[in-house]
Amino acid sequence: MASPSDLLQYAISGATLGATYGLAGLGFTVIFNTTEIINFAQGEFVMLGGMLAVFAIRWGGLPSALAVPLAIALTTLVGVVTDRLTIRPVRGRSVIVLIIITIGVSIVLRGAAMLLFGKDTYALPGFSGDAPIGFLGASFLPQNLWVGGMTLGTLVAMKLYFDRTISGKAMLACACDRKAASLMGINVDAMVTLSFALSALVGALGGAILAPITLTSYDVGILLGLKGFAACILGGLGNPFGAVAGGVILGVLESLSAGLISSGYKDAVAFVILLTLLFVRPSGLFGRRAADRV
């Protein structure tokens, strides 16, 4: 029934959709790796990246090439302010308290964006035009290449950062044992701030690159955050590679079930498979089983 070129189209659609989830999910891993906090405001960082870029163009009249970096820089600043105003004053509290605080932050950011930018949906022009590219009977947009390329680039950069640099390793150390890390001379507070800055940066980058394909509005963060989180869980929380792989798997599953089974059940099919996988491997596909101290 489905021709090979149709299957290829489903795979390409799914992979690009999945890359959006993965890109949204990458930010979760940075903060989780440093603090063990799941930052539920991550989706809002993604939203801010897209919305600020749109409005830098609309209000500031900037070209895309300037608007996008500006949006990313501003969102990074928001990440730092979030840490300073909401996380640092209550540091040392249990992780669950901090997670609930991030939910509060997400509501505040979403509300502020609604008041500032209004409730409309906006489109950002594609970075390299909107002419579709044909490939073996399937087709995709130049922006899809941007999404794929940036996702891979971010992934490699993060991998190198966590594995090869002192500050990356210091970040991981903070997550392993805060006290030991600070005894070793690591400035834990600075590391937490840095992790918020980094994850806001990654999120905003994703938001700005996605906006030409997915369109953006003040409330896109809810869905992208949720799907990004699902991608992280599927791939194994804390593993950047897992987040991207989880995203792509989720995207391809959705696209294949919409194409081959029924579009009405595509989310259901994807999530049933997700749940089954987690049932078999609770720590995710690429996650290491956590060693519990007794």
Binding site: M1, A2, S3, D6, Q9, Y10, S13, G14, T16, L17, T20, K119, D120, T121, Y122, A123, D130, P132, G134, S139, F140, L141, L210, I213, T214, L215, S217, V220, L223, E254, S255, L256, A258, G259, S262, S263, G264, K266, D267
Partner: protein, 382 residues
């Protein structure tokens, strides 16, 4: 003693006179519930503006039946529970003679029992067929029902020789209602539905559904949803180079849709819409021409923003009440209701209303025109 009685008589007379004059000046109070804020504010805001504009217009022209007109607007914040509170206030405290709105179908259905019980005419600005089917004695509505839009689309497709269609609908209330109508009416007019696909209202990629449709025998695609989903579909279909005629619902009949999809992706899309969006192309002799151009001119000069079909629904609702009051020569709720039901040939911004005991919407598919998006603008088709 006698002097005292004289004084009290005078006081009584004064009181009676005061009350009588107060009664003569008593304004006609019309209540309105709109979703001015919240997710449905794109409906409620232009409706509120229109209501306030008409209130001022009436009073500048000396009111109705020589009495001032007072329109009390409450905001239900796109929430049916708040609409119920608001209608209670309108009935018990403000003692209105008729209620306009609410903006959404959910809110309207929630307050129907209240107005039926209070015996107040309600003219809803929401689209769902359920509001007026089955007919409820006190409930009317101004927007066209989905079925009319579906009929208009099928009429056009049939004339173009397109008998096999694929439907692609949003999985929200608007899309689900459209899907049902699309299937029901298809059976009546002899169209075949060869693909029935669904998308989530917040989905960002519909290439899978479109690829699936591409593999069927469909000769045209009908998409039912509100922004941003249909805009994504418009983009995806260009990406996949799908050349089939693409019909959309009246739910995207706003310039915002063309902006989101991008004019090059929206090119050639066909949709049924009220004449308001293509007022410039309505021929001069048409009975709606003057109504539309006056409304647009007044609204845009007052609020410095473009008009929308939704503000037009409120215009129609209030003007329907006004003409009913004038014909009944009374502002009693029961008299207004009877006059409303007897309304024939009333032209509003949406179309020609012919109410009857069986039809409390009063429109036909003539209230829609087919438009094609051409170079980022609406082109009226004949």
């Amino acid at each position: 003693m006698g002097k005292q009685i004289g004084v009290s008589w005078l006081a009584l007379l004064a009181l009676v006179w005061l009350q009588a004059s107060a009664h003569a000046a008593e304004p006609i109070r019309i209540g309105a519930i709109f979703s001015v804020t919240g997710p449905a504010s794109f409906l409620g805001e232009p409706e509120r503006n229109t209501a306030k504009m008409l209130e001022e217009d009436f009073n500048k022209a000396g009111g109705l039946l020589g009495r001032k007109v007072e329109v009390t607007v409450y905001d239900d914040e796109s929430d049916a529970t708040k609409a119920v509170t608001a209608v209670d206030r309108l009935i018990k405290r403000d003692r209105v003679v008729a209620v306009i709105g609410p903006s959404t179908s959910g809110s309207t259905l929630a307050i129907v029992p209240k107005v039926e019980e209070a015996k107040l005419p309600l003219i809803s600005c929401a689209a769902a067929k359920k509001i007026v089917e089955p007919v409820k004695r006190w409930v009317f509505k101004t927007p066209q029902s989905d079925a009319l839009a579906v009929r208009k689309i099928y009429q056009h497709a049939k004339k173009a020789g397109l008998g096999k269609i694929a439907v692609l609908t949003a999985s929200d209330a608007f899309g689900a209602a459209g899907r049902e109508e699309l299937k029901d009416v298809a059976a009546q007019v002899g169209m075949t539905i060869v693909a029935d696909e669904v998308f989530g209202p917040k989905d960002t990629d519909m290439t899978a559904q479109l690829t699936r449709i591409k593999g069927t025998a469909a000769q045209a695609i009908v998409v039912w949803g509100t922004n941003p989903g249909p805009a994504v579909i418009a983009r995806n279909r260009v990406q996949l180079k799908i050349g089939l005629p693409l019909y959309m619902s009246h739910g995207v009949a706003s310039p915002k849709f063309i902006e989101l999809a991008g004019p090059e992706n929206a090119e050639g899309i066909l949709l049924p819409a009220g004449r308001l969006i293509a007022e410039g192309q309505v021929p001069a002799g048409h009975p709606q021409k003057a109504i539309l151009s006056n409304y647009i001119k007044e609204y845009e000069s007052r609020f410095k923003q473009p008009t929308s079909t939704f503000g037009g629904y409120a215009w129609d609702a209030i003007m329907l009440v006004a003409q009913a009051v004038k014909r009944a020569q009374s502002a009693e709720p029961a008299a207004i209701r009877d006059a409303l039901e007897a309304t024939r040939g009333f032209w509003g911004t949406t179309g020609e209303y012919n109410f009857s005991a069986e039809d409390h919407n009063g429109l036909t598919e003539e209230a829609f025109v087919m438009v094609r998006i051409t170079k980022g603008d609406w082109e009226l088709l004949r």
